[in-house]
Each structure stands twice: as structure tokens, then as C-alpha cells.
Symmetry: C2
Subunit: 316 residues, 2 copies
């Protein structure tokens, strides 16, 4: 097989052709380009201070484990910053239990403190149990999807863990595909105004709310997967058994199909909607945080979403 | 085969199940529901006055011919209103020439005056010729798509024809699918602010600009097709040979797939984006119309889009 030299270093053999730029990259220039992209994103959105205690939400999948590796690398240059990790065990049999092992082993390898929290311990029930309860309770197909419960309860679990650990920032591994999907999902769910909340830094100023940042939000999912593969990072690769039921996975498939035929569509989508974000923020109700009347956790309504959900299930 | 009675009249046999409402409808109740939807849309957006001269843009396809039939029916109740039709012959061999015959025969049948205008006569070249010129001129794939040329030049042709006929309104047959696709297309093209311009009535007040209305913008494409079929309306059914090259047809396929699995998605998409339209209109540059410095036709920039395109092709 004939080889092509890397467009950047011109010395090593290229292993990857970047469709949207035409660059042909060797292993080293490619992996460096991903790390650089993360560095630039962190700088551009002023995600971290040099003294920040940072917690990374690590599920054990390729995105979050890769983020942990890249942040661990970047953090070396900031001796006053510190890194730790948390995994939320939602309780999804045959999926999360496996992923937890990958999360733990990567943390061990990188010497990063690793906390684990679980739905069972926080809410009394695992996601599997909650899904079972919703199926019994609600008329067929009329209730919330497993992903709706999981998203709300996981975000709460992460905020609790971050606050408990006393960190300054909570870093999540959302990639460019996630962000593009979420924006479309908001539109297709009838809630286009929520696009205003899909952004690299969620910095609501409220004592009980730990600021959330997404250092990989400008990196394509495909390139993160390639990074993890080339760096031989060990990750859980089984998809969540509930993911198939969600509108999100249909949007994912469709965006991938369109991207394949029209290179750069995902970037354009994000830029396009970023451009209208200021207009949306101007009219979106000011999301003033306050304490939930029931549990005391930060919320924009009287009763927080997790409490509302748990109430519906007669858990709370 | 066992039959099911119509949900509405409870007498006749149902021929159609409306997925998003669960209604089972007979031929008469279904076709009436479509006509009613058009009536309600016209009323809601105050599309017509009882004395309006209305021109319908009729391509010869199912949507525009159906619109002509429905408006002809509605118009009977408004003796001071009048209806005429125009077809733009873009010059697409094996496609538009066929469609023209259907447009003409339906107009004859309904006793509606029918004007024909063409790219060749207005711009000196047919779309086929323009496409050939762009292929020769531009580097592969870097130029505008045939649809981009066609859209801009067709809108201009329609405005000229409507003004020449001295009508008050130009009615186009955009359906709900078209509108949903256009909104997504704007987003995926990086121009989300243009969503502000996708609406039932385009009523820029400018002497040279004929107001445009879309009486079928709340009707699903599928239901228009069924209406045409049940009413035995004769239409061109071959798709445009250039359509396949466009991002729009990928969006179309994908929206149809999602709608099939998640009934009502198209409605939700439209409602969702309608909700943010006011915010977008507030920040969108005020589209102040003025005369193009070159051709004198209404435009928002110094040189209008058709002139810019024709210049690029060295036609003007």
C-alpha cells in the first residue's frame, strides 16, 4: 500500500484524512490537533483559572475517558490546578457496571481521585427500576423516555458530587455532535428557546450550583473516537441499551448521514445557531436559580425537576 | 376486507387514518378537512381581502395544482375576488415541459386565466443552459447548486408576472413539509436568522413587490398528495431532475423518517421555530427594500440577487 506524507509535519505517514479541511495527518499531528483544539476551546471560553479544582464527569465511554486523559495532560502545566473524577452509576445492568470498571482503571492509571455516586443511593432506585416503574405507571408510550429521567437525575447527581468535593468546575465530555444533536432535539421537541442554554460554559452564579464547562464541545465525535483508538485508551464501547428508544438517536443517525454527503454541516449548524443565541437569550426567561422548596437544591421553578419526577413516581 | 366508519360523519367508510390525531376519515370528510385547513389558514393570517385579485403560482405538480383547485372552490363565495395563474418555465428538459401541460389543462378546466413566463425569455438562458454554464465555469462542486439559481430566478419571475398582471397577492403552494425543510435548511446552511423570513405571509410593503401568501403552509405534503389523488386531479408526478443534488432532499428524507417514528415532529418543529421568530425578527437586519441599481427590481442590497447571479455567469 502506498503511503501519503502528513500535511503538517511532512515527515511521518498520514493515517487520517480530515474531510472538512482536506488535511492528511499522521498519528502525532492528529492527536496533537485534538489536544490543541481542547486547549483553544478552554482559552476562548475562559473555562478554567490556573488555580481551579476541576472535577471531570467520567462515564467510562470514549468521550469522557478521552477528556480525562487530555485534561490530565494539560493540567501538568498548571501545578496549582487539580483534577478529580466522578462517575454516576445510574444502575443500568450490563452497561454501566462494565463502564465503571473502565472509568476506575483509567483514573488509577492517571493518578486521579475517583468518586462514585449512584441513583440507587441518591434516589432510592436505579434507572432500571425507575424505567420499570414508569412502564407500570404510565400509559404506553405517553410517559417520559428513560433518557429524560436519566438526564435530569444525572445532572443533579453530578452537581451534588461536585459540590461535595468542593471543586470549582465540573467538566463534561460533550462533543460537537452532542451539541448539534441537542440543538436539533430542542427544536424538534418544540422548545427552540432552550438553544440558548446549549453552550460551552454554563456559568449560572449560585452558591449551590457548580459551574459546568465542555472543553471538547468543538471536537467531532468521530475524531474523539479516533484519538482514543490511536492513544490506545481503554474504554467501554457498548452503547446504552436505552439510547435506541430516543429521538436523539434518530437525529444522530440523520446528522451523520447528512454530514457524510455535505461535509461540515455539523460545524455550520453549531455556528448558525450560535449566531441567534444572543437574540434567544434576550427573550428567554431569565433562569434565576433558587432553592427547591422540597429538597433545597438549585432550580428555576418552585419544585426542581428531579423532585417533580420522583413525585410522579411516588418516590418522593 | 372489513371497513371502519369515519370518525367524523360516522356514516361513510374511512379511507385514511391520520396518525397525529388518530382520526379515521372518509373521502368526503378528509377532503373537506384539507379545504377547511386552508380556509382557516387564510383567515388566521388575513391572507386575502374579499376584493383581491389573486395569482396562483402553478408549476403543474400536485401541490400547486391542488392549491389552484381549492382556491377556485373557496373563491366562489367571494364574487368580487378574482383568480388567475402563472407558470414559470425554467427550461428543464423532460420535466417542466411536461408539467406545463398539466398546469394549462387544470387552468382550462377551472376556467382560470393562465400566463406563462420563462427563464429563457426573462434572462436569455434556460435553467438547463445556466447549469451547463456553471459546470463549465466553476470548480467542481464549489459553485451554487441548480436549486439556488432556480429559487432566486423563479421568485423574481413570479414577482414580475404578478406585477404585470396587476394582482394584489401572489399565492404559492408551499406546504408544511416545505416550511419545515426550509427552516432546517437555513440552520444547516449557517443562516438561522433567515428563519425569521419563513412565514405564511411575506408582506413587505414596497410598490414593486407583490405580497406573497402560502395558504397551504399548515398542510402536510402527504395529505395534499392524498387530496389530489382522491379528487382525481391530474398532475405532473415526475420529480425535478436537479432536486436530488440538493441538501434539501436529504433533509426531506430525514424529516420523513423521523416523522414516521415520532408522529407530529413536523408540526412541533414549525411551532417551535415560530415561537422564536419574534426574537429573530427583532435582531434581523430590517429588510428594507429598494430598487436594484442595475435592473430596478426590488432588493435588500445594492445589486439584487438575480443580477448578482447573472453577472457571475457573465450574462449581465
Amino acid at each position: 500500500m502506498s503511503t501519503v506524507p502528513c500535511t503538517l509535519c511532512k515527515r511521518r505517514d498520514a493515517v487520517f484524512m480530515r474531510p472538512y479541511s482536506g488535511e492528511k495527518l499522521c498519528v502525532r499531528c492528529f492527536t496533537r490537533s485534538i489536544e490543541d483544539k481542547v486547549r483553544v476551546t478552554i482559552a476562548k471560553y475562559e473555562m478554567f483559572k490556573p488555580t481551579d479544582k476541576i472535577m471531570v464527569a467520567v462515564s467510562g465511554g470514549k468521550d469522557s475517558v478521552t477528556l480525562l486523559h487530555i485534561l490530565a495532560k494539560i493540567e501538568k502545566a498548571f501545578p496549582k490546578a487539580s483534577l478529580c473524577a466522578v462517575t454516576v452509576d445510574e444502575g443500568i445492568k450490563g452497561y454501566r457496571d462494565e463502564a465503571l470498571k473502565f472509568a476506575a482503571s483509567n483514573c488509577r492509571k492517571l493518578g486521579v481521585n475517583h468518586a462514585v455516586t449512584s441513583f440507587k443511593e441518591l434516589y432510592g432506585y436505579s434507572l432500571d427500576e425507575i424505567v420499570k416503574m414508569t412502564l407500570e405507571k404510565e400509559e404506553n408510550g405517553k410517559g417520559l423516555t428513560p433518557c429524560a429521567y436519566c438526564g435530569v437525575l444525572r445532572r443533579r447527581a453530578l452537581n451534588l458530587a461536585a459540590r461535595e468535593a468542593g471543586v470549582d468546575k465540573l467538566a463534561t465530555a460533550h462533543n460537537l455532535d452532542d451539541e448539534a444533536q441537542t440543538m436539533l432535539l430542542n427544536i424538534l421537541h418544540g422548545d427552540a428557546l432552550r438553544i440558548a442554554r446549549v453552550k460551552p460554559v454554563l456559568a449560572d452564579v449560585y452558591p449551590k450550583f457548580v459551574q459546568r464547562v465542555k472543553p471538547m464541545c468543538k471536537v467531532l465525535e468521530k475524531e474523539i473516537a479516533l484519538y482514543a483508538y490511536l492513544k490506545r485508551i481503554k474504554v467501554q464501547s457498548v452503547p446504552c441499551p436505552y439510547a435506541q428508544t430516543a429521538l436523539r438517536s434518530d437525529i444522530r443517525v440523520m446528522l451523520n448521514r447528512i454530514e457524510e454527503k455535505h461535509t461540515g454541516t455539523k460545524f455550520t449548524l453549531i455556528k448558525s445557531l450560535e449566531r441567534i443565541r444572543p437574540a434567544l437569550e434576550a427573550v428567554a426567561e431569565e433562569a434565576k436559580l433558587r432553592d427547591c422548596r422540597q429538597c433545597g437544591e438549585p432550580t428555576v421553578s418552585e419544585i426542581c425537576k428531579p423532585c417533580q419526577m420522583l413525585r410522579k413516581l411516588d418516590i418522593r
